[in-house]
Each structure stands twice: as C-alpha cells, then as structure tokens.
Symmetry: C2
Amino acid sequence: MDSNKSDRRRFLKQAAALAGVAAGAGLVTAKGQPTQDKHVHVEPPRRGARYSIDHLTHYTPLQDYAGIITPSRVHFVQQHSSEFPEIDADEHRLTIHGMVDRPLSFSMDDLKRLPSVSRVHFLECQGNSSSLIHTARAEPNMGLPVQYIWGMTSCSEWTGVPLSVLLKEAGVKKEGSWLVYEGADPGKFSHTLPMGKAMDDVFVAYAQNGDPVRVEQGYPIRMIVPGWEGPFSVKYLRHIKVVDQPYHAWNEAMNHSVTRADVGDKARWYHFQWATKSVITRPSAGMELRRGYVQITGLAWSGAGKIAKVDVSTDGGKTWREARIDGAVHSKAHTRFNFDWEWNGQETVIMSRSTDETGDVQPSREALYRNWGIKDLEHPARTTHFNAIQPWKIARDGTISDVMFAA
Amino acid sequence: MDSNKSDRRRFLKQAAALAGVAAGAGLVTAKGQPTQDKHVHVEPPRRGARYSIDHLTHYTPLQDYAGIITPSRVHFVQQHSSEFPEIDADEHRLTIHGMVDRPLSFSMDDLKRLPSVSRVHFLECQGNSSSLIHTARAEPNMGLPVQYIWGMTSCSEWTGVPLSVLLKEAGVKKEGSWLVYEGADPGKFSHTLPMGKAMDDVFVAYAQNGDPVRVEQGYPIRMIVPGWEGPFSVKYLRHIKVVDQPYHAWNEAMNHSVTRADVGDKARWYHFQWATKSVITRPSAGMELRRGYVQITGLAWSGAGKIAKVDVSTDGGKTWREARIDGAVHSKAHTRFNFDWEWNGQETVIMSRSTDETGDVQPSREALYRNWGIKDLEHPARTTHFNAIQPWKIARDGTISDVMFAA
C-alpha cells in the first residue's frame, strides 16, 4: 500500500502571475466562503433558562474546523433534561457513598486541590453516525451532510481529578465492584460504571480547553469516561454510589438499550467502548468540487487507544493509500488526517478507513451488519455503536452526496 | 532520582464526613476563588480601533488554566504597531517574489485549498521570563507574579499551509538562501528567516484552536516558526521575498538585538531557537499555601523538540524528583507537568527543571550567565533568551514570592 506522503513539487496547475493564482483547482464549499473565515456563532446557554429541543441538541460542524480541538462553544450537545441546570459552583458538592469506608463530600475547591490530569479525549453520543435518529436533517439531493450524520462527537482537552484518587480517599470496600452515579440536572441523569474502568482512566473534569467546563457540558463538573459511549460521561455530576452490581438505570436499560429480535426483543443493556471510526470531513456531502488538486481531510478515533493509521480510497474502495497524520497522536482522541488528491472530473466515491493501535480496522457497513448478525437493514440496532466506513459520492458536476443513507 | 509517581492511598489528611472535607490542606489563591471558576475576560480587539500600549501588550495568565492549550482570547500579545490592522480577508493576498521562477500571489481561498498541517506549538516573546522589561508590574512583598514574568508565552493548535509548499509552487532559484517577509500592520513588521528552517516546519496559519486566527494574533494569516523566538512568527503576513543574504530588519538589528560590551557594544543580531524552559505556575508568587497536600503544576517546553522530563525540587535545589507528564507530548509545545507534595509549614524554595529530547537541561540563572560570559547581572543581555530555572520562595506564613527578581 502506497503512502500519500507526496513529494511532488507543485499542487497548483497554473503558474500564476502576481495577478493571482488561477482558481482552477480544488475545493469550494457549496455556500460561498470557506467556513474558516467565519466564527461559528452559537449563543452560550443561559443557566436555568428553558430551551426548545433544538437548543438542547447541537451537532458539531466537523466540516468547519481543522485540527483536533473542537472549539468549546460548538462541542456537541445532547441534553436529556428540559433545561441546563443553574448550579452555584460555590454550593455544589460531589458525594461518594455506598460501599466505602468514609463517605465523603467534596466542594469544588476540594477537587481542585487534589492531583489533576489534563488529557485530550473525544466524547461521542452512542447514536452518532447512524441514520435513524438524524434523518430529520436530511436535505434533498445530497443525503445527509457530515455535520448531521457525524457531528455528535467532539474533542477537548479536559482537566480534572482522577476518579481513582477520590475513590481511594473514600476507601472502597471489598464488595464494591460497580458505581452508579447521577447528575444534578432536573432529569437526574444516571449511569453505571464497572470498578475496573473507574480505577483506570476516568476523571472528574472541571476544565475544558483551559476554561471552566461550559454550562451545556456539565458545569461545574463532568465525569469523563475516555473512549466509552457518551452517556457514561454524566454532566453536573453530584452523587457517586459504590455498589456491588450493575444498576439498570433508565438511560441504560430503556432509553439507550438495543433490542434483539432474535432473543424475543430482550435488550442488550450495556455498551461500553467505541470501536475505531473515521470520516472525511472535507470534501463531504453538500460541498462542490472543481477539477484539480483537492486536499482530503478528516478525523479518526478509537475508544481502545491511539489511531495507528488511516487509509483513504478515491475509487470506491478498490485501492487504498495511507493518509498523513501530523504531530503527536493522543489516545482515545480525534486524530487529524490529510490526503493529497487530484480529481479528474469523473464520478467516483471517496472514503476513509481507520486502524487503531490494537489492530482493529473500521468495517464497511455490510461487514458491520454481518458481524452483528443483522439482516434487516432497517433494524434499529444500527442506530447505536455504528462505526462503519462513510462513503461520499462525487458526481461529474462536482456535487457531493452521502451514499450510505441517501437511499 | 525518585519519580513522583506516587501510589499513596490518600491525599487529604482528614477523613471528612458528608458535612464536608475539612479545608485543612492545599492551595488557595491569594484572591478568593480558584480562577478556574471564572472565565478570564479579555475584550476582543476591534479591528482598526486604536489602543493604548496596555491593550497592545497582554500577558497570558499561566496560573489560571490547566492543560496545554491556552484559551485563544488570553494568548499573549506584544503588538509592535499602534493598532490592530483592519484587514478584509477577501481582499488580502500573500505574495512570494524575489529569487523565484514564478512570482505568486495567493488569496486566502487559494491557501486553504492547498495541503494543510495542524500542529500544537508554543509562541514566546524573546524577552519572556526576564526581569528588565517587566518590572513595571512588580508588586511589593512578592516580587513578580508568574503571569508578568512568564506570561509572554502561549500554546495553540495552529492550522495552515506549509511554507515549503508555497515556496515550491513559486520555485526557489538556486541562489535563494534567505527570506525576508513583512506584515500588513501599520509598522510593516519584518523579519528574516534562513531557507533551511523555511523548508523544514514553518507554516502559514489561518486557524488557531479551530477558529480563524484572532485579530490580535494576525488575522487572516500568521507565519508560524515553531520553536523560534516570537518575532519570527510575523502577523498579518503579506509579502515574502526570497533573497540571498540575511536582511537586517529593524526588529532584528535594532529593536531586538543584544549588545555585547566585550566587543565594543556591537550587536549579536540573530537569535533563533528557544532553549528548554519550565516554570511552576501553581503555587507561585502572590498565592498562599496551607500545610498539607499541595499539587505543584507547571509548564515545560523547548524550541528543539519534545520535553523528555521535568524534575521538581521542594528544598531549594538540594534534591530533585521527576514530575508526572500525562498523555502525548507535542514537539515545540507546552507540556503540562504535575507533582504531589506535602508542605510541612517550613520555609523553603520550590522550582522545576526541564530536560528536552536533545538532552538539553534548563540551567540555573548563575549557570546561564556563566555560560553567556555575563558578569554584570544588570547587563541587558539577560532580557532576551532567558531560560533559567524559576525559584519560588515559600515563607512560614504560606506567602509565596519570586526570589529571582525580587532583589
């Protein structure tokens, strides 16, 4: 497999005079200026205010930024309560109780005095990049744009205190093998976590990209469960109870469960770690191409660790070449890849395929469903944990559409 | 040398009941709440507006955030013109001329079509962490707080097009061995760069932490010269000329030169790469300690590559132990270190010492001056390229002061 570490001398075909590089090559977005020229404006939520469902759900515009750090104000939101709670950080406390030697209650000042870690991690809604929960956003003739298929994942540098430090302060009794924990939002969002993960790399974050955690992200503190699906990372964290069995919290057993027709519609309750995923963010559905040089760029990640490599195909999957990854790769974090391509004006399909450090390779949709034993493509199981390759179809007129969910 | 990878079980001395962890341990800032609780408000500059020198100079509050990404709005500013220029990105062009086969002029759209890189790098004013240019900010009884000694460095994820790509498009003639380049600010800030560095890792950035480069940071484009002193990274970049010798631009030959008394006050014109540096950001001058557990945290970096390790001394330099570094380390970037400490209430001095991947070790001030052949400690040479260890003195009452520049 050839690498895409191109050493060719020139990317623009025209030797432009000082009057300007001829605009004959490359990518233009469908709607005027490249979005890097514009700040993406999202009003900061006001605490305590009530919001419509549109405000409580926000998709990250993955196509509009470069690098790996999602600007905090456009981090995705999937708020399960009807409002963002108004929490006074001076009064807020985190309690640890249940099967512990010393029940504890931490003020925010207490937490900030303890050992801290700062780590770059993605978070991701368990329904991200599936079709069924996002089809309301589909537009005619292009299928779904990347923001509304893939935009329920974001990546930040989070800072906080390791959960293991807090649990050791409290002293977990021998029989304590699970946690159940709850947020201070009106819906008391709750989740279960096995002790092994809790003692590994989980932390209670009070900062996001150098600032306090934003209100819609869980101010003043959020549980960060690296690499695992989003609902584990409970916002507005308030209570942690050490228990000796998994609790079937509503968000696990009901709202986020996957039923299996083959066992009488019983639910598979627990989902944990994200498999490896990747997506080309530009060019993607809704944009337009012109012939000539095109930089293909996208993001790859894995709940199991670091991304090892990303391959790109520009011929519908017949051949693959390795994309460039610049700089240090963070574990369980978005990883930026870039790939140089010359579009010849012919119809084709482009796609990316990630491999993580454990050797896990992103599957095609067909392979994924085969692995899952799913024959009915409309089965709702595909709405969670979906990590299949995303193909983008480029027509001869340069328009780009999603061919996975367009049908 | 012992590592500080403490495995001890508890950090808080008191087993607190649910009524609250006793506030007997750790760090409190001098002025009320930990600053993580407050967003640091800096008004965004308005383009074209005139500002006093106070607005044109901004020190990053290193003590107020965790992690390595400086929130963009508190990135340091050392503006050399009397205003932030009002640039229309739709009209702005970058020209490359001089000793090239094809003089070129790039629109911002042209630049964004070309191959891009996204990298985490520090920038740093060449006068950072010295005393002479910052003493106006000194406060009685504490010497200088870390923000006003060390706050002329910041770290961002920058995205842009490699300068090597642009130069190859233009075709550098055989005799072209240096660049001289200029910004579109009223003062036409200019600088010189040798071709070897230009073809290595320099890039023309249009994005900072996922957003467009901020106005005070050079919107719409800034040259990023990783690891080298700040003035190389010219803002509002407009012209690049390929030449066959270094140009003695005012900012090199006059404003930023260092005179040497030993050779008749001639200037050493060129300074390039930053040596390795580190500083404890918390606790630091102006804060107050209480007895018990204290997390020591700080930043380390090097212009030569990655940080290999950071050692911390809590006894004035007699003994050193290795600090924790979490996650992936970026090259030529701020690197966060943390260190667990128990303060016994006695007077002492704490300090950090970095080592980079080339083996370079941060020196004491005495060693640095000895290396530089400087006997007169008031000699202005110490105002640039200063990278000595920063000691913080802790008094018995818990007050902390700078002992390097307090005298």
